[in-house]
Amino acid sequence: MLIFSVFKTLTDQVVTVELKNDLCITGTLKSVDQFLNIRLDKISVVDPERHPHMMAVKNCFIRGSVVRYVQIPATAVDTQLLEDATRREHASTHKR
């Protein structure tokens, strides 16, 4: 839930999603769900020559399980807060 929580704050940010098939898609993050399925808008592929079929795609829904990395703008993340959130989650899971 933590990462999801973080991604929720990243909506409307430009992110680059790297898929496990090496396809890199850059676009505006529109939404994320708890499976980290990602919806991107105004997408562009990092290497369009290798993926001509993506030329016409303007938005997409990416299943969370096929995502390898998501590159997010550093300025959009509060590292301190992220650390705290991690601690909280850790604490809460160990309380249980």
């Binding site: 909506t11 705290d84 160990h94």
Partner: protein
């Protein structure tokens, strides 16, 4: 041909009926062939013979005729609309009579009986005789089957008749030449109007007129006719004379109307139609109904019926080919009857010719023949039959039946003794018999048949109608179903294109489910980051909602990606939010119930694992829980047990980290407590409790921080150690926030006392060396310290009085190597801060006016500081330190950079602060030490050594910073 026969029937008169019987004979054969109709045939066979007498006897005939007519009227309606029937009736009357030689019919029958070749044979064979012969026998059998009761008696005599009949017909056929016939046909075909067509017939046949009279007479004759038939048939019309032509010709006559000169001939024909109706009526009707039944079914499949009918009625030309085909193919039974007729008329006629005639007849028939037929009643059966025969088998069947029936009746008559009585009656009527005797008897036969048939017909008509209706309904229903199915398939095909796509509805549905799983009772527990981040963002934006700290669904950052759209969208969002709230509520309730249930079951079933409704992806990496009993500062334990009760070994990195985390947890708890702080005046009790809890946590932190440990307990001191890692540095300011002023001052004192133990001070020399990972790390840590810890210290100092400042500085001077501390940026910043704070406090306004004692203490402290630093002022400059670490001799070749000037800025500030507080002697000392540095900067600026204006400006500014503190300016410096 059939048309003619029908037409005769149409004439309706009893005579015609009798004539029809002759035709019927032919039809009867068909019946045999039609074996399919068997059920009727079997029943009819001999059983009915007895009845025939009764039926024939008396005035039944009259009624019969009527019946025939009635039946005819009924029959035609359903099948084929009486085209010319009604109108042409009168004219047709004659025609039929002319067509059907009265005698011929009777004669033909016998002939047929003699010749029993198969119907097919007839079709195949050109020779009419063979055909006839074949037909006749069959006809006989057929009659037995169909109209056994009625017809048999009449027909029985037929055998003898054959001989007689032929002559009569022969005469008729003779009259008509093929050419004539053809002419007629053509005329008929050409003359669309019945009237037109009629004339030709009349002309050719000439008999036409005579027939009419007989027809008229027929009604009266019925009874007489029957006897006459018996007597007459053999002898009548001199059948004996024309016998040769016999079958062939006899056959022709009906068709050839003209051939049969006498009224007899006509009458027979005329009778024939009626016979056809009645006879056919019984059996035929049955057959008809069947046909009709079949038709509906056939029509859809075959399509022939509709086409056939219209064609037959309208387009004679088209009809001809069809009939032939139809007959052969479709109508096994029917074909023979037709042939017989044709062949009998003209032996000369080939089948083709006959067919042509048929066509012509049909064409014209509609006009002349149809009229009679229609009028009488045959029209019902006949008209339909005619066209149908040609076109559709079903119709043909009736025709055939009609024809056959008449024939059978004849033969049976003579044969059956029962009929003798009738015959006798008939004999009494010899005169009649002489003329159209055969026809009359036939009529009678037909009549009786007709009666029963009538009912049947009526039934059949009704049935037919109902059946037709049913069939049509069924067809319609099936069509509807088919259409529906097609539409469905179309729709499915249309939708199939998007089979794998999600509709907006699907997406919304999933979104709702997801949202429902995301919304939780405690947003900070599972959604801490987003919630706090949102709060921070909102705080930054300045729109912090007062009472609403928690982000609700749909707010920014919830991740639904649904922006603030148009009004419609917001409405949708509102709706969704409500739904989600409902879902959440349900989920909560369910969980409560579950837990309640679980407690019940635990005893019986053991522990039950239950997952919450929040379906988070299962973590694949499951690390064993180490929290059980973490090593609570094991090293520190060791240290305690070590030598010197109050001295411990430094904390291990692990201990430090662990303690930091513990402190973090506590701090987070505190922060959470802060968020839960009860608001409002009416919550005193809650507030009291909350404060208690809060204070307890603060106490935990205080203990965990080990601030009160002796300063020398370890090196570094536990508190200082915590500041080692970056996260420890970050933690301090957050800790201090929750501590009381006294506590925080204590911490600050500790920090200053142990300032030299700080990593950023100890390893500061790294910053003066060549680039390295350690240096970079040190720079980071230094920056972090300056941005986190130092401000906390300064904040604490600001609250301190001059005495405290003096004391703290004294602490620093006493416990640390001030010169070393001053050579670090944090230390330099701290000293600057001390000096500035003291300077401010020295000149503080009245209430906080420092006492002399305090001022004195400060002066002493300052003097100590100055003393410590004197002689090393130059080394306070980072640039100078950097140069010092370079290999010997290289310094001259390295020009100072802007970065150096920036780095030196803090040093210049410290020197300025130092100069302000310094007395004259100290200032002179200071200036003396700084002289070279100041001149260097001023020179580089004035001589243009500084490559850029920015660099020059920085140098001068830095110098002026220091010089201004002394009361002079760089511009005053004389080079």
């Amino acid at each position: 041909m059939a048309f003619r026969g029908f037409a005769d029937l149409a004439n309706g008169d009893p005579l015609l009926a009798t004539a029809k019987q002759e035709d019927e004979d032919l039809a009867v054969y068909n019946w045999d062939d039609a074996g399919g109709y068997g059920y009727n045939a079997g029943a009819l066979d001999e059983a009915g013979d007895d009845m025939n007498d009764e039926t024939f006897g008396g005035g039944n005939a009259g009624t019969d005729f009527d019946f025939a007519r009635t039946t005819g009227s009924f029959a035609p309606v359903p099948r084929a609309p009486a085209k010319p029937v009604q109108k042409p009736a009168p004219p047709s009357g004659p025609l039929p009579s002319s067509r059907t030689a009265p005698a011929t019919s009777s004669r033909q029958a016998p002939l047929r009986h003699k010749n029993q070749p198969s119907l097919e044979a007839l079709w195949k064979d050109d020779s009419v005789s063979s055909v006839l012969g074949g037909i006749i026998p069959r006809a006989a059998s057929g009659t037995s089957l169909l109209g056994a009761r009625h017809t048999p008696p009449q027909h029985t005599p037929t055998p003898p008749r054959p001989a007689n009949l032929p002559p009569a017909r022969g005469s008729q056929p003779r009259v008509m030449t093929l050419q004539e016939i053809e002419a007629e046909m053509e005329a008929l075909s050409h003359g669309s109007s019945t009237a037109h067509s009629m004339p030709p017939f009349m002309a050719n046949e000439t008999h036409a007129p005579p027939p009419l009279p007989p027809v008229q007479s027929m009604p009266h004759m019925p009874q007489q006719q029957l006897p006459s038939i018996n007597d007459g048939f053999p002898p009548q019309h001199g059948w004996g004379a024309p016998p040769p032509r016999s079958s062939l010709e006899s056959m022709l006559p009906p068709e050839m109307r003209p051939a049969s000169g006498g009224r007899h001939a006509f009458t027979p024909e005329g009778h024939l139609p009626p016979e056809m109706r009645p006879v056919g009526g019984v059996s035929p009707y049955h057959s008809l109904p069947e046909n009709t039944f079949s038709l509906p079914s056939m029509r859809p499949d075959m399509e022939l019926p509709p086409e056939m009918r219209p064609v037959g009625g309208r387009m004679p030309m088209d009809m001809p080919p069809l009939p032939s085909d139809m007959r052969t193919a479709l109508m096994q039974g029917p074909p023979p009857p037709r042939e017989p007729y044709y062949p009998p008329g003209n032996q000369m006629f080939s089948l083709d010719e006959i067919e042509r005639q048929m066509q012509a007849a049909q064409l014209g028939a509609p006009m002349p023949p149809p009229q009679p037929m229609q009028q009488q009643g045959p029209p019902h059966g006949m008209p339909d039959m005619g066209p149908e025969l040609h076109h559709a088998p079903p119709h043909n069947a009736p025709f055939e039946e009609l024809h056959r029936q008449p024939r059978p009746p004849q033969p049976p008559r003579p044969e059956s003794g029962l009929f003798k009585g009738d015959v006798g009656d008939l004999l009494d009527f010899p005169p009649l018999g002489a003329q159209p005797l055969a026809g009359r008897p036939l009529i009678r036969e037909q009549m009786p048949d007709a009666r029963t048939p009538e009912q049947i017909i009526e039934l059949s008509v009704e049935k037919r109608a109902s059946l037709m209706r049913d069939a049509q309904e069924k067809i319609r229903a099936t069509e509807k179903l088919e259409a529906k199915r097609r539409r469905k398939a179309e729709k499915l095909a249309h939708m199939a294109r998007r089979n794998e796509l999600m509709s907006q509805g699907d997406k919304d549905f999933i979104t709702r489910i997801q949202v429902s799983q995301l919304v939780t009772e405690d947003p900070y527990a599972d959604d801490f980051y987003a919630q706090v981040f949102g709060a921070i963002v909102r705080a930054r934006i300045g729109e912090a909602a007062a009472g609403e700290a928690v982000i609700k669904f749909g707010d920014v950052g919830v991740g639904m990606g649904i922006g603030r759209g148009a009004g419609r969208r917001e409405k949708a969002m509102e709706r969704m939010r409500q739904q989600v709230e409902k879902l959440v509520q349900h989920a909560k309730n369910r969980e409560k119930e579950k837990s309640a249930d679980q407690e019940k079951h635990i005893r019986a079933l053991g522990k039950l694992s239950s997952r919450t409704s929040k379906v988070a992806p299962r973590p694949l990496l499951q690390v064993k829980d180490l929290t059980g009993s973490p090593p609570v500062t094991p090293t520190s334990e060791k240290g305690r047990s070590g030598p010197g009760g109050d001295h411990k070994a430094a904390m291990t990195q692990r201990d430090i980290l662990y303690r930091i985390e513990k402190l973090y947890d506590l701090v987070l708890q505190l922060e959470q407590k802060r968020r839960e702080e009860p608001q409002g005046e009416d919550k005193e009790e809650e507030r009291y409790v909350w404060e208690g809890e809060y204070a307890a946590i603060v106490k935990l932190i205080w203990d965990e921080l080990h601030v009160m440990d002796p300063l020398d307990i370890s090196d570094p001191h536990p508190v200082i150690a915590i500041l080692g890692p970056a996260k420890g540095k970050k933690l301090l300011p957050r800790l201090l926030r929750h501590l009381s002023q006294k506590e925080s001052l204590t911490v600050v004192t500790l920090l200053i006392a142990c300032f030299s133990q700080l990593d950023v001070v100890r390893k500061a020399s790294l910053l003066d060396r060549a680039d390295s990972p350690e240096k970079r790390e040190m720079e980071k840590q230094t920056e972090l310290f300056l941005s986190t810890v130092l401000p906390a210290l300064i904040g604490a100092l600001r609250r301190a009085g001059l005495r405290l400042v003096s004391g703290l500085l004294g602490h620093l001077i006493n416990r640390c190597d001030v010169a070393e501390v001053a050579r670090t940026r944090p230390g330099l910043e701290l000293l600057t801060m001390f000096l500035a704070q003291a300077e401010g406090l020295k000149h503080a306004p009245a209430p906080d006016e420092p006492t002399d004692e305090e001022l004195d203490q400060w002066q002493k402290t300052y003097a100590a500081l100055f003393k410590e630093l004197s002689g090393t002022f130059i080394t306070l400059f980072p640039s100078a330190r950097r140069l010092a670490h370079l290999p010997f001799g290289t310094a001259q070749y390295i020009r100072p950079t802007a970065a150096d000037d920036i780095a030196d800025q803090s040093t210049w500030q410290f020197l300025a602060a130092l100069a302000i507080s310094a007395d004259m002697a100290q200032q002179q000392h200071l200036v003396g030490e700084m002289r070279d540095k100041v001149l260097e900067n001023v020179m580089s600026q004035r001589t243009g050594l500084a490559t850029t204006e920015e660099e020059a400006r920085l140098k001068i500014d830095n110098v002026n910073l220091f010089l201004n503190a002394l009361g002079i300016d760089a511009s005053q410096i004389q080079m």
